[in-house]
């Protein structure tokens, strides 16, 4: 067989082996075996360089599997194998050479009496993977062709080993990645943080084939343990080391703390700890312990374990930070939601408050909003307002809700008064600094949140109101506290949350404003009413003036013909015989005319008042003058007159009209006392808030006015008398009104009647304050008391 084709066949075989799908170990064995056969060499061995790059270990032999017991190693530089590795050069050695036997001692066992040793480095352009050693019984050399063949084989070996290493590496990476994938999946799963950390810890232990793992996270500032999770029983010796890891870890990349301890039974435990570093104030450590070898022994952790643990630590930090952020976001969202709820309630209540200017309704809306579950949801709420004149805080309105209460939706509830009101009208707190929080809230214009009632905080109220925790918000308008709102959750025992209290303070400001507006509005309304009244009265007096001028014009027109008719009737009467029936007819004409004339006179007296003559007069004198007019009449009816006249300032008045008033009153009194009696006339001054008044009382002993007609006495044309028009009191009242005075009636059934005429003394305020002094018939004070 020629050499060339033999070599070609060999190389073909070699290529086939190195590209085959059999395992790397077998491939190496086959390559080495085939080479030995091809070169007719006794023994071919492959020594692999270990990871430490210092020891070359026998891995493959052309004679078959390498027994575990026949482990053969060479250090770098030791023997031909070590030298070839160290120099990356071919080394040839012969038995006869000095020191060869000693240097290559282990080989004697494998090939006794060897003569030749040839070591070839197995390497590619970058790395040295091992050494190929050829041994033979003969002393032999290698031709150039052989050397070339061997070189090719070493390249194939290098490539195979490299592939094997790469594959091993890949497998490891894949395994690691799949673990990390699992962990990552777990970390991003939507499970509770505690459960998740437990899973991470156990996975970490399993990946590193450790007996157990532990996670410990503390708050750096407070020292408080935030998270503590473990898988497997942590050996007690390791426990105290963990918290120190963040500080004690070796300053390497990655940082770690590694070591071993011995337990009471003499067993050695290994541990590996990496620190966890968070962005915030948290810190902690992740620990694995007792790495278990395939044989079940505890063994130390290697750098790969460190790298993996470090990666896991990073994942945990990430996951925790995410979780914490999420928790924060969630709590923020929750707070936000509560705030939105409260602000919605506030808006709803505010809107309702703008629908009315009635104080009562405003208070109802406010209280309903405070206790409604969709509102601010307090158990109780009380509004107290400052009473300026008495310098006290007065209970105005209060409401509470009971557990069984069913509430309609807020918007609807705000249109109704609260179901359960609190009786607070007798709450009265002096505005002094020693009178508890309610007074202080007004005086200092600030809120009070009392958590545990101390004695005295509600001292003036203790009999009305007890609560352990309560809140007081002042109602401030234009830098003035107008009142306070008091709330509590005493009944349900819930704590007062900050959000509703915050909203309450905003609401208190608005409430203060709308209540102040309501107050101003009601003042305006009162003024407006007064103005309307004055206007009405002016219109009425205009109407009356028009009416009276019309009536007086008509009355005058009627009077002339009446005089003629009556006058001629009288003349006819004188001409007619006494016995003639005409006489009766004429008398009827005369009497009817007389009656008409009398009626005319009364109507003219009533309507003719616009012709008035004001001057300064003495009321006592007016009374005296008028008494003279009726004196004879009174004497004739056996009526005694009692005068109690006090000196009075002069009045600006029409004395003739006032005489008419008292004339009418005296005449009434006289008529009431047909069987005799006493007429008492008194005068005195009355101090009222709008000025000084003169009062004149006219009392009779005529038994009083029957209740059923009392309300009618000022009605024009009403009369209990059988004669007259009944205009007397009506005229009197009208005249007094024109003087911006009042007539009051005190009726004592069985005794008599007192008419009290009050007239303002200050003259120039009259026109300005016209609306006040005037007494329209409807507003007339007519007490109906009596016996």
């Amino acid at each position: 067989m020629d050499m060339g084709s033999d070599r070609t066949a060999f190389l073909t075989q070699m290529v086939e082996i190195s590209t085959s799908t059999i395992s790397f170990g077998e491939r190496l064995g086959n390559l080495v075996h085939l080479l030995a056969r091809h070169l007719r060499i006794d023994l071919a061995l492959y020594f692999g360089l270990d990871k430490s790059k210092e020891v070359l270990t026998l891995q493959v032999s052309s004679q078959g599997p390498v027994p575990v017991s026949g482990r053969l190693e060479f250090r770098l530089g030791q023997g031909v194998v070590g030298e070839a590795a160290a120099t990356r050069q071919i080394r040839l050695a012969y038995r006869y050479q000095e020191g060869v036997l000693a240097a290559n001692a282990g080989l004697e066992k494998l090939l006794p009496e060897y003569q030749t040793l040839a070591a070839f480095p197995v390497a590619d352009d970058n790395f040295l993977y091992g050494v190929l050693l050829l041994a033979d019984h003969r002393e032999r050399t290698f031709s150039v062709a052989e050397r070339q063949t061997i070189h090719l084989v070493t390249l194939m070996l290098a490539s195979t080993v490299r592939q094997a290493l790469l594959q091993e590496d890949s497998k490891k990476r894949i395994a690691e990645l799949s673990v990390l994938f699992e962990v990552g999946k777990a970390l991003s799963a939507t499970m509770e943080l505690d459960e998740l950390l437990e899973r991470v810890v156990s996975t970490t232990a399993k990946v590193i084939t450790a007996r157990g793992a532990a996670l410990h996270i503390v708050d750096r500032v407070t020292g408080q343990t935030k998270v503590s999770s473990q898988y497997g029983q942590v050996p007690p010796q390791i426990c105290p080391i963990m918290p120190a890891a963040p500080v004690a870890a070796a300053p390497m990349e990655p940082p770690f703390l590694q070591g071993q301890t011995r337990d009471a039974e003499g067993r050695t435990h290994y541990y590996l700890i990496v620190p966890l570093t968070f962005k915030g104030q948290l810190e902690g450590s992740l620990c694995v312990f007792d790495k278990i070898s395939p044989e079940g022994e505890f063994q130390p952790f290697d750098p790969e374990n460190r790298q993996l643990l470090f990666t896991m630590a990073g994942l945990i930090v990430n996951a925790l930070e995410n979780a914490l952020t999420y928790q924060q976001v969630e709590s923020l969202a929750e707070r936000n939601e509560r705030m939105v709820h409260n602000l919605t309630a506030l808006q709803e209540i505010s809107r309702a408050l703008l629908t009315t200017v009635q104080r009562e309704r405003l208070l109802e809306i406010l209280l309903q909003g405070l206790i409604h579950p969709q509102g601010l949801g307090f158990d109780r709420a009380v509004v107290l307002m400052v009473d300026e004149p008495s310098q006290t805080l007065q209970g105005v309105k209060g409401a509470q809700r009971l557990p069984e209460d069913q509430f309609p939706p807020l918007s609807e509830a705000l249109t109704q008064p609260p179901v359960h009101s609190l009786a607070v009208s007798d709450w009265q707190i002096p505005l002094r600094p020693d009178c508890g929080s309610l007074a202080l809230a007004v005086l200092q214009q600030r809120s009070f949140h009392v958590h545990h009632r101390e004695p005295g905080t509600l001292a003036p109220l203790s009999q009305h109101f007890t609560a352990q925790e309560f809140f007081i918000a002042p109602m401030v308008v234009k830098d003035r506290a107008t009142g306070v709102i008091l709330v509590d959750n005493q009944a349900s025992g819930r704590p007062l949350e900050p959000e509703p209290l915050h909203v309450l303070q905003m609401l208190a400001t608005q409430a203060a404003l709308v209540l102040e507006n309501a107050r101003l509005y009601s003042t305006i309304e009162a003024n407006n009413r007064e103005l309307m009244l004055i206007r009405e009265r002016m219109l009425e007096s205009d109407r009356l003036a028009a009416l009276s001028s019309l009536a007086s014009g008509m009355a005058h027109e009627i009077r002339n013909p009446l005089v003629s008719i009556g006058g001629f009737a009288r003349r006819i009467g004188k001409l007619v015989d006494k016995d003639s029936p005409l006489r009766g007819y004429v008398e009827v004409i005369q009497e009817e005319v007389s009656r008409l004339e009398k009626l005319l006179k009364e109507i003219l007296d009533f309507t003719g008042e616009n012709l008035s003559y004001f001057g300064d007069h003495d009321l006592d004198q007016i009374l005296e003058d008028t008494l003279i007019l009726v004196q004879r009449d009174l004497d004739a009816h056996n009526i005694k007159v009692v005068k109690e006249l006090a000196p009075l300032p002069r009045l600006h008045c029409d004395d003739r009209q006032l005489k008419q008033v008292f004339y009418n009153l005296f005449t009434n009194a006289r008529q009431a006392m047909s069987q005799g009696g006493t007429l008492t006339v008194r005068t005195y001054t009355v101090e009222r808030e709008d000025g000084l008044y003169a009062a004149a009382e006219v009392s009779d002993t005529g038994g009083g006015i029957p209740l059923e007609v009392l309300h009618n006495i000022f009605n024009p044309f009403f009369s209990t008398k059988d004669y007259g028009t009944g205009l007397g009191l009506s005229i009197a009242q009208r005249i007094v009104s024109r003087h911006y005075g009042q007539i009051e009636v005190k009726n004592e059934l069985g005794k008599g009647v007192t008419f009290i005429v009050t007239l303002p003394i200050a003259k120039y305020c009259l026109v300005k304050d016209a609306g006040r002094g005037a007494a329209p018939a409807g507003a007339l004070h007519v007490p109906t008391g009596g016996r």
């Binding site: 005058h556 005089v563 003629s564 008719i565 009556g566 004339e597």
Partner: protein
């Protein structure tokens, strides 16, 4: 025979008053307004003048003023349907103020008081 002037724009009143006064034995002249009344006062030596207040052409108040200017001693009685001016008659310098009434007793009594001698 005493001479009386009755001035009133109402014919019926003039007739009633003059019938009544003639019956009492007086000589009665009549006028339907203040101007006519003044003309008669100028012509006739009168003893009493009765003037209505509200009259056309010249009212009773003006006629009163002019009569009193020339004949301050001639008594003048105002007779009117307006009772409410009664308080002011003195300022108008009249001697008497009578509110018209179908009962002429007041009129007769007043006239008698001024013309008794």
């Amino acid at each position: 025979m005493k001479k009386i002037l009755v001035a009133d724009d109402e014919m019926a009143i003039r007739l009633l008053y003059s019938e009544e006064l003639k019956e009492e034995g007086y000589e009665v002249y009549t006028a339907s307004n203040g101007k006519e009344a003044l003309e008669i006062v100028e012509k006739v030596p009168l003893d009493l003048v009765i003037l209505d207040i509200k009259m056309p052409v010249m009212d009773g108040i003006e006629a009163l003023r002019q009569i009193k200017e020339r004949y301050p001693h001639l008594p003048v009685v105002l007779s009117t349907a307006y009772g409410e001016y009664k308080q002011d008659f003195a300022t108008w310098a009249s001697d008497e103020y009578l509110v018209k009434s179908s009962d002429l007793e007041d009129l007769r009594a007043t006239v008698k008081r001024y013309l008794k001698d």
